[in-house]
């Protein structure tokens, strides 16, 4: 997915000389090719993220198309106020690419992990939040982000999990993508790194539908309500806090439009306690396929028996 990201950046920059890539001294090796072919459109702003976002706002105000790259722990979290005031308030077309979202930086601890970025940004007016699951979705998200007139946050999580789609796709803002049809009681809605896990877990629930949600904000109320009406329980899976993320967005929609049980699976309201590999931390947070399955079964077990 990182290769797709790099390629997409180059494609956008070569097509539009107004595209400027800013990085807060991150992206070692990732931008080698970009720097080689688009040297004039590359700015390393140093380890100075607040300034970088303000600079991006100024560039955008003057008609350029800045793409700000950083670790998602810093972009958007460290610079949330810059995004709010300098960018969102003026609805400037700045793309924020937050890399390593979730617990990807498993060994670096909580300073480099971001499981609150979606929640923080969802409450900011005018910004869109995109969360691609694979290289195909990433390319579609990049295109959508570039074509969007306002700010966009591109949340990039664990990048080497493999594809969930088998062909290029286009994406509209708010759209949900069906990966597996099903008429059973469960529907899985997952985003980013957890889509592949959701597909695997769904194997154990006959008739379960699986949807990928690359556009967390906006999120089509009609589409989510339609899924809710077709099933009895929605299982939302994300590598993000269960507070304020995709699960919350889905629960907000169905509570208004199509009351349905929503099982929110994600990072519980806590920081990572331990250091370790990515897979280790996913175990700690009970986000492996086995753990997700167990959490779904526990949730179903607590429900008033679902009418058949």
């Amino acid at each position: 997915m990182r290769t797709a990201f790099s390629q997409s950046l180059i494609r956008l920059a070569q097509a539009d000389p107004n595209v400027v890539l800013l990085t807060g001294d991150h992206g070692y090796a990732l931008f080698d090719e970009f720097r080689r072919v688009c040297a004039q459109q590359y700015v390393n702003a140093g380890i100075a993220e607040q300034n970088m976002v303000g600079v991006a706002a100024g560039l955008a105000k003057a008609g350029l198309r800045p793409i700000v790259y950083g670790l998602s722990a810093f972009v958007p979290i460290r610079v949330l106020e810059q995004i709010k005031i300098d960018v969102c308030y003026e609805q400037l077309p700045v793309i924020f690419a937050g890399d390593g979202a979730g617990v990807v930086y498993s060994a670096l601890g909580s300073s480099h992990q971001s499981t609150e970025d979606v929640a923080a940004l969802r409450a900011l007016p005018s910004i869109q939040i995109l969360s691609p699951a694979d290289a195909y979705e990433l390319k579609a998200c990049m295109t959508l982000a570039y074509e969007t007139a306002g700010p966009v946050y591109l949340r990039m999580g664990k990048a080497d999990l493999g594809d969930v789609h088998d062909r290029p796709l286009t994406l509209r803002a708010g759209e949900v993508l069906n990966l597996r049809a099903g008429q059973g009681p469960l529907a899985f809605l997952a985003t980013g790194s957890m889509v592949k896990t959701a597909l695997k877990v769904a194997d154990d629930f006959p008739g379960a539908a699986v949807w990928s949600v690359p556009s967390i904000k906006p999120l089509s109320e009609a589409a989510v309500a339609s899924v809710a009406r077709a099933h009895q329980v929605l299982v939302v899976v994300e590598e993000h806090s269960v507070l304020g993320g995709l699960g919350a967005a889905v629960a907000e929609i169905v509570s208004t439009h199509a009351p349905t049980y929503v099982c929110r699976i994600g990072i519980q309201d806590r920081f990572s306690e331990f250091c370790g590999s990515y897979s280790y931390l996913m175990q700690e947070h009970r986000l492996t396929a086995d753990d997700v399955q167990a959490q779904v079964e526990a949730f179903l077990g607590r429900l008033t028996p679902v009418s058949s």
């Binding site: 140093g46 100075a48 607040q50 303000g54 600079v55 706002a57 105000k61 300098d86």
Partner: protein
């Protein structure tokens, strides 16, 4: 640098301060003293340096970024003198449904940035200056930053970045009035010799009396165009300049005018039309200001 010759807007410092008082009283606002410290700076910039031809959002304009957004009433006063704001804007300041806020707000034509949360405006200004360089427009960006605001880490990030990018079209003006919200800058977080710091950061830097308009013009005139270095003026100012009871009294960061203090303030700032040739006469008699 040479000033653009085509712009000559008369802006009289006393009239600007009276406009600030008029707004501050109408809106019962704070932040009078920090507006007063930048009156001459803004007057000099609008009168002789900023190309705006003649509208606030004209393409190709020079940018005036008020990073210390708390001083925005001084900028409103200039915009009123330029005809960009009207009497109602001043007299209904802070009234329900009005558009002029108590801090710089980019939604107001003429204000380039949303600031007041400090340490934002300079970076945006640096971005504007960088865009002007990349697009070869010849535009300059003048950024007014408070000395208290210089506490913000993002300010120093912006300073480093602008110097590294060789933004010689950036003119930083530090309003060194010696005070910030909770006390003097020396008490709160002593910034030491700001000019020396800026020189060390690669800035072509001048110390100047920030209330001496001739000195400000002269200092701006000595800065060299296109030498690759951003410019900086450390403008030494007095918070509350011009009013005996407000100068050096940090209570006036927060204090609101009442009828007595307004009358005293206006008495200390008498209108001397001959001191402002061509200046716009005050639109309202004093009793209206007090209403």
């Amino acid at each position: 640098m040479t000033p653009p010759a085509e712009i000559t807007a008369p802006l009289d410092a006393t009239l600007l301060r009276r406009s600030v008082l008029r707004m501050a009283h109408a809106g019962s606002t704070v932040h009078i003293a920090c507006a007063f410290s930048i009156v001459e700076i803004l007057a000099v910039l609008y009168r002789g340096w900023l190309r705006h031809n003649p509208l606030p959002q004209a393409p190709g304009r020079d940018y005036l970024v008020l990073s210390k957004g708390h001083g925005v009433m001084a900028q409103y006063a200039c915009m009123y003198a330029l005809g960009w704001l009207g009497d109602e804007d001043l007299d209904r300041y802070f009234a329900d449904g009005t558009r002029l806020k108590g801090l710089s707000d980019a939604h107001v034509p003429g204000l380039e940035v949303t600031s007041g949360s400090l340490g934002h405006g300079l970076s945006v200004g640096v971005g504007l200056a960088l865009a002007a360089k990349r697009q070869d427009t010849g535009q300059r960006c003048y950024a007014v930053v408070g000395d208290g605001e210089m506490n913000e880490g993002s300010i120093w990030e912006a300073l480093m970045f602008a110097a590294h990018q060789r933004l010689d079209n950036l003119v930083l003006i530090v309003d060194a009035n010696g005070f910030q919200a909770m006390g003097s800058t020396a008490e709160v977080l002593d910034m030491g010799d700001l000019a020396a710091k800026l020189r060390a950061f690669g800035y072509d830097t001048r110390d100047v009396d920030g209330h001496d308009e001739l000195a400000l013009d002269a200092a701006l005139g000595t800065l060299r165009d296109q030498d690759g270095r951003p410019k900086a003026l450390v403008a030494h100012t007095v918070k509350g300049k011009g009013l005996s009871f407000m100068e050096h009294n940090n209570q006036w960061h927060y204090t609101r005018l009442d009828a007595t203090t307004l009358a005293q303030a206006l008495g200390e700032l008498p209108i001397q039309l001959e001191s402002a040739p061509g200046a716009r006469a005050p639109a309202e008699p004093e009793e209206d200001i007090q209403s």
